[in-house]
Symmetry: C2
């Protein structure tokens, strides 16, 4: 198909597709003539993935390029590609190095070490997600909110269960290439699912605890959306 059809079928403007091509998020089409290229279903699928990563997963364009580059890198074996790809994914802006001397950051690291020991994990400190965790915990401590090992432990245990569920899902994907892509896509795209469900569960549990109206039908005001 031509660029125009790729655009129509994906719902992405031709200008944006050209931009993605330029940025290396999308492999170039097969050149038919000196001025025309042909795109196939793989391009369409990749384009949809790119859009999903960027729009739903909030992954920056530069990061998406890295991640997809690792997925496509035939010089690496599957494990390495997975590691590089998932490791490139961001959580948030990296903390500045000055924070290393902040006592809150220090305390956060100790808390997290304790948590990992409690969970029996062997996470390496270089893992980017661990750095995000340090930043988040340090921020909570700065605001005097609870985030000791006891507070974090339920989160850690639930994360373990999530991981089991996630890897089961990924294992169920067939082709190896798709499986690698799936690991990236499901890691990123299930994040909004998880966060949305958590907030909905908050509303639900809140109502369950504090609802003063009828148990069953009356719309409780507690944590109601009041949206609009």
């Amino acid at each position: 198909m031509r660029l125009a059809e790729l655009s129509e079928r994906s719902g992405v403007s031709t200008a944006t597709i050209k931009y993605y091509l330029r940025e290396g998020l999308l492999p170039p089409g097969e050149r038919v003539t000196a001025t025309q290229s042909e795109y196939n279903e793989d391009h369409l699928r990749r384009l949809r993935l790119v859009r999903a990563l960027i729009q739903v997963g909030r992954v920056p364009v530069a990061t998406a390029r890295e991640v997809l580059g690792a997925v496509d890198d035939n010089a690496l074996d599957m494990d390495e590609r997975l590691g590089v790809a998932v490791g490139s994914l961001p959580h948030q802006a990296p903390g500045r190095p000055e924070e290393a001397e902040d006592p809150h950051v220090r305390a956060a690291r100790e808390t997290i070490d304790g948590l990992l020991a409690e969970l029996g994990w062997h996470a390496r400190p270089s893992y980017p997600a661990a750095e995000s965790l340090v930043t988040a915990v340090a921020t909570l401590r700065r605001l005097d909110y609870p985030c000791d090992v006891a507070s974090l432990l339920p989160y850690g245990r639930l994360a373990t269960e999530l991981a089991v569920s996630d890897l089961d899902m990924i294992s169920a994907i067939e082709a190896p290439v798709t499986q690698l892509e799936a690991a990236v896509a499901l890691t990123v795209l299930y994040e909004p699912v998880l966060l949305s469900l958590r907030r909905m569960a908050h509303a639900e549990e809140s109502r369950r605890r504090y609802s003063t109206g009828g148990e069953g039908g009356a719309p409780a005001k507690q944590a109601g959306p009041a949206n609009g």
Copy 2:
């Protein structure tokens, strides 16, 4: 204290503090003279919260104003304030109305209805988090990734447990005003904690399943960070 001291103690530049004052994220100080204002510990605490929401929680400035405005709104009772505040928090850019006719979106809504029924939740469709969920599930379906009720159910159950844990934490906060702020802060600031732990758990579970090296000490290559 003066603006300069507020800046020094919070680590936020005076220019940024002025910006937050202008934007209404921070209440004005008590005017001492026509050209000077006095700030107190509450300002400092609020400023830290604002920074945490914006930098760690990735909340847009305009949204933070809404959220904090609701927290401070004395015209509403506690339940209403909580509802408005948490309901204002974003997950992601809102989907365009055209998506309403997309069959993927339709299918996503049906899946979610089924999920909510299975979980026994009474969530209202107007809840913003539910809309984010629809977008995320529709995106997954568009990419042919599994996200039927069976796939989502573990997430829903875990979200329920999270909510119990979270509300327990919030209940442990003492003063009512602080409790309201805590609900907002913990809702937002535990999100990166959760996501980080999930990714770390992925690496952990992945190694547990696929590690070919020694069981205990050898650094497995599977899902290793390979970072840098």
